[in-house]
Each structure stands twice: as structure tokens, then as C-alpha cells.
């Protein structure tokens, strides 16, 4: 375990670099070395950011982005876990779906946006669908791997006590592959955030992505950056939250448990 002193040093070092960068930007912008129209001083962006927070005007776009993100994320993850357990535990099911998933998986998901807009329009349905599609594949791949890594002894243990197929799914395969599934869900959460913001920029019907782009288009450059700060903080918060959830759901996979 690092001592308190080591940790304090780590925090100071970690903050030093971004802080130095901000100071450099501040000086560059104030002295006109960088075009202040494109790059306002960080203190001015901070003031605008504070305005967005204090007025509460961040709540609408943030809530919309979070709602779309979690809806798409939830649909994508659940579908991927169900198909992943099927593909991981049954060779025929794997053979049936594998070529299709391998074809769709490497496809950059934003490339699907034009087609999705044709079918689903520019609203929430399209945005949720693209997030769900993007979140689906990393969870699917990890779930298949996780199910295949389950100890046959664990499954035989359930069988010798007379547990049926559904119980083996729920009480053995799902928890045993949880560390793999959660690792996939971590990747998907990052992807989901990228996709929801991209989709919002294209759809232009609200959300953080729309706020960033609209502000930039109307030459509210400081506002555009301030929304970017909101987005960065959201990303950080989601990562922390996920780590917290992961530790609780796969606690038995921690090093001390091995």
C-alpha cells in the first residue's frame, strides 16, 4: 500500500501537468500569442462554465445525454450478455452468429448514422440505437470469452446438486463471467459516450453534443469550451462510478481472493 505521503505526491504530480498547461494557455491567450477568439483564456472559460452550472442551464442537456446514453447502453449490454452466454455455451449458436458479428463488429459505428437517420429520423430513437449498437460488441466478445473460461468443475458442481439449465445460467455462468462482462461494459461505456455525443451533434435536437456544436456555430466559443468541460467532468464521473460498481459486483475477483 502506498503511504499517505506517496499518495499526496502522486496527486500533486498528476495535477501539475494540466495546471501548467492551463497557465500556459492563459498567458498565450492574454498576450495574443494564440487567437483569443478561437482560444479564450481558461479563466474566461471557467467563468462561463460557472455561469452554466450556477444558472442550472446544464441540467437539461446533461439529463438528455445521460438518458439517451443509459437507455442505449442498457439495451446494448443486456442484449450482448444474453447472446454472449448463448454463444459462449453453445457451439451451434456460436457458429450461427459468429460470421455476422465479426462482420459488424469492426465497422466504425458512426458510419451507420446516415442509414439509421433514414430509418429512424433525427431523434432519440436513432441516438439510442447507435449507442446500443456501439455498446453491444465489446460486451458480447467479453461475455463469450468469460463463459468459455468458466471452470467445468463449477458447472458440474451445480449439476451434481441437481440444478437445471436456467439455474446454471443465473447462478454459475453469469456470476463466473461477471469480471469479463464488466471489463467489456467499461469499454462500452466510453464508446457509448462518444457515440451519444456524435449522434447529438448530427441530430441537433438537444444534449451535450448539440450544445457544444451549436455554441461553436453561433460563435459562442467560450460556451462551446464550457460545455466541453461539462462533458469531460461527466466522463470522469462515469469512470469513477463504474469502478465503484465493478468493485462491488466482482469483489471476489480482486487479487486477495485469488
Amino acid at each position: 500500500m502506498p503511504s499517505g505521503r506517496d499518495r499526496a505526491t502522486a496527486v500533486v504530480l498528476g495535477i501539475a501537468l494540466p495546471l501548467a498547461g492551463l497557465v500556459a494557455l492563459e498567458i498565450a491567450s492574454r498576450n495574443g500569442w494564440a487567437n483569443p477568439t478561437f482560444l479564450p483564456p481558461p479563466t474566461a472559460i471557467l467563468a462561463t462554465f460557472w455561469g452554466i452550472i450556477a444558472s442550472g442551464s446544464f441540467i437539461g442537456p446533461l439529463a438528455q445525454t445521460l438518458l439517451l446514453l443509459f437507455t442505449g447502453y442498457g439495451i446494448g449490454c443486456v442484449a450482448a450478455i444474453v447472446l454472449g452466454i448463448l454463444m459462449g455455451s453453445s457451439r451451434p449458436v456460436f457458429n450461427l452468429f459468429e460470421p455476422l458479428t465479426e462482420l459488424l463488429r469492426p465497422l466504425p459505428k458512426p458510419a451507420l448514422l446516415p442509414a439509421l437517420i433514414l430509418f429512424l429520423g433525427l431523434g432519440a430513437r436513432m441516438e439510442i440505437t447507435i449507442v446500443a449498437l456501439g455498446c453491444f460488441f465489446p460486451v458480447l466478445i467479453n461475455t463469450i470469452q468469460g463463459v468459455r473460461a468458466v471452470e467445468p468443475t463449477m458447472i458440474n458442481t451445480a449439476r451434481t446438486f441437481g440444478h437445471g439449465t436456467m439455474a446454471i445460467w443465473r447462478r454459475i455462468l453469469l456470476p463466473a463471467s461477471a469480471p469479463y462482462i464488466l471489463a467489456g461494459m467499461r469499454i462500452s461505456l466510453g464508446l457509448g459516450l462518444i457515440l451519444v455525443v456524435t449522434a447529438e451533434m448530427i441530430a441537433g435536437s438537444g444534449g451535450l453534443g448539440d450544445s457544444i456544436l451549436s455554441a461553436q456555430r453561433t460563435f459562442l466559443v467560450k460556451e462551446s469550451y464550457a460545455w466541453l468541460v461539462v462533458l469531460a467532468l461527466l466522463g470522469l464521473l462515469l469512470t469513477w462510478l463504474f469502478t465503484w460498481v465493478e468493485r462491488r459486483l466482482a469483489f471476489w475477483n480482486a487479487p486477495q481472493a485469488q
Binding site: T153, T160, N253
Partner: protein, 284 residues
């Protein structure tokens, strides 16, 4: 956390235990072959027949890789035989039967790490019995107490020592109250002293509960010490070459029984037999 179990020699296995209930276990000309890498069939078990009386303790010894575990898994209904059949009482065993439980060699892979010790034990019976929470907990506690772990219900398996984990696995297997307990080298992955301790424990529990016990092992001493009869398996494809009655008095004692002339004579006979067989196998 790691706790080492205390080793203490003790009297084990009452000769006058609970009355024997249950059904005869019949293994009728079981054969098992697998598909080899070249597409041909590899025979693991030739033809094995066994007749195990209710409440009997049978040990099956054989060289490693002779198909002992495969045989036990077929008996347990975890694997289908290629030929022959297994009967428990009047019923053919075609899947996992309700009255047989398999105790695995690798307790660390058999105990579920996301469940507490108590929940692991409950996993053995509560899907069938559907007891209230309090009743299920009390039953868990009873069985954990039998293996000396009454106070460890809220621990996770990985917080316990290897010997304690195998005790939990034993408690869990018995909590299902099987007529037949099938043991696949359950004492081979613990240290020597813990092994002696677990031998005494299993004889104690067998004396109390009077289940039919079938133990597969490569340890001749263990087989003689525990069993009423010892069946000797040959190399692949496994067949039974000899069945020896131990006729050692019960209760058996950790030290005295193992030093008795009768024990040593049996040991001599079995080892000589296995070693000769082993050389035949090596030359074959």
C-alpha cells in the same frame, strides 16, 4: 486471512452407527470411450462392474490416468457411458440423480467464490427444499458444525485455508443428504497432516450419516484406512482386476490402525500388485 486447521488424532467411524437406509448401487458393465484427435475412439473404461451395498465404503484405486475420475463421473450421471448402465436401487441413472453427490478433487474450483460459505452450503439443498431463510441458515449451521466450521458461514471460501475449504465442500455435499457420496480424490490437494485429519472427519460423518461412500484415489493407504472394500483398476482401458475386503475393525484410529499388522499386510499386497501392474503398463 488464512487459518490452519488443528491436527489431532482421534477415534473415528463408529461401527454401530445409525441404521443403514438407501439403495444398492449397481455398476453394470460400464464402458466409456472418447473421440480421439485422429477421429478414432479411445477407450478409457473397458468394462467395469461394481455392486455397492447401502452404507458401504468402497475405495477404487488405480494408477493416475487410468480413468478413475471418468468412471466416477459416469456413476454420478455427469457423463453418459458408451455402454452398460448404472442403477441406484430400482432406477437407472441417466442424468444427475437426486440421491448422489459428487465431491470434487479441486475444492477451490468447486466452491463458488462469489457466495459466502453459508450460501455455498445452501446451494446444495435449498433449490429443492425451499426452506425459509431461518430454517435454511440453521441447516447450514448444523452441517458446518459437523465439519468444525460453524462460525465461518459468513466468510468467503477464498478467506479460508485449503483444508477448511475442503471441509466446506464436504459439509455442502452432505447437506444435500445424499444416499451415495462419490469422492474424486478429495484429499489429494491438501497437506499430509490435514489429509489425516480429513480422513478421520469423513469416517466420523460416514459413521453418523451412513451414506454409501465411493472413493476414487491413487493413495493405497487412504483406500485401506477408509474403506470396507478396495477395488483395483488396471491401466487404460480401465477394468477391475481385484477387489479386496479390508476387514479392519472399526472404529479406525489415525495412528494405531495404520500401524496394525493387518493394515500393513494389505498395504504390502496392494502396493506389490499395483507396482507389478504399473510395470506391465509401462512395457505395454
Amino acid at each position: 486471512m488464512s487459518v490452519v486447521t488443528n491436527f489431532r488424532p482421534r477415534k473415528t467411524g463408529g461401527a454401530a452407527g445409525a441404521p443403514v437406509a438407501g439403495s444398492r448401487l449397481l455398476v453394470d458393465q460400464i464402458g466409456k470411450s472418447f473421440l480421439g484427435p485422429d477421429g478414432g475412439a479411445i477407450s478409457a473404461i473397458g468394462s467395469v462392474s461394481l455392486d455397492v451395498a447401502p452404507g458401504e465404503f468402497l475405495a477404487i484405486v488405480g494408477p493416475s490416468g487410468c480413468g478413475k475420475s471418468t468412471l466416477l463421473q459416469v456413476i454420478a450421471g455427469l457423463m453418459m457411458p458408451s455402454s452398460g448402465k448404472v442403477r441406484l436401487g430400482e432406477q437407472d441413472v441417466t442424468g444427475e440423480p437426486a440421491h448422489m453427490v459428487y465431491l470434487f478433487q479441486q475444492y477451490s474450483k468447486s466452491l463458488l467464490p462469489w457466495m459466502t460459505v453459508a450460501n455455498n452450503v445452501m446451494f446444495a439443498f435449498n433449490h429443492r427444499l425451499k426452506l425459509s431463510n431461518a430454517a435454511a441458515k440453521s441447516r447450514c449451521r448444523d452441517y458446518l458444525a459437523m465439519v468444525g466450521l460453524a462460525d465461518f458461514g459468513n466468510h468467503y471460501p477464498w478467506q479460508l485455508s485449503g483444508g477448511m475449504q475442503q471441509r466446506v465442500a464436504i459439509a455442502r455435499a452432505l447437506a444435500a443428504e445424499p444416499q451415495v457420496l462419490l469422492m474424486d480424490e478429495p484429499f489429494s490437494s491438501v497437506d499430509a497432516l490435514t489429509r489425516l485429519d480429513l480422513h478421520s472427519l469423513i469416517l466420523d460423518l460416514w459413521g453418523q450419516k451412513r451414506f454409501t461412500a465411493v472413493l476414487v484415489t491413487h493413495d493405497v493407504d487412504e483406500a485401506i484406512f477408509l474403506a470396507d472394500r478396495v477395488a483395483v483398476l488396471t491401466h487404460r482401458p480401465a477394468t477391475i482386476s481385484e477387489v479386496i475386503e479390508t476387514k479392519l475393525p472399526r472404529p479406525r484410529h489415525s495412528i494405531e490402525t495404520r500401524e496394525s499388522p493387518e493394515f500393513l499386510a494389505l498395504r504390502h499386497r496392494l502396493l506389490k500388485y499395483l507396482l507389478a501392474r504399473n510395470q506391465d503398463g509401462a512395457h505395454a
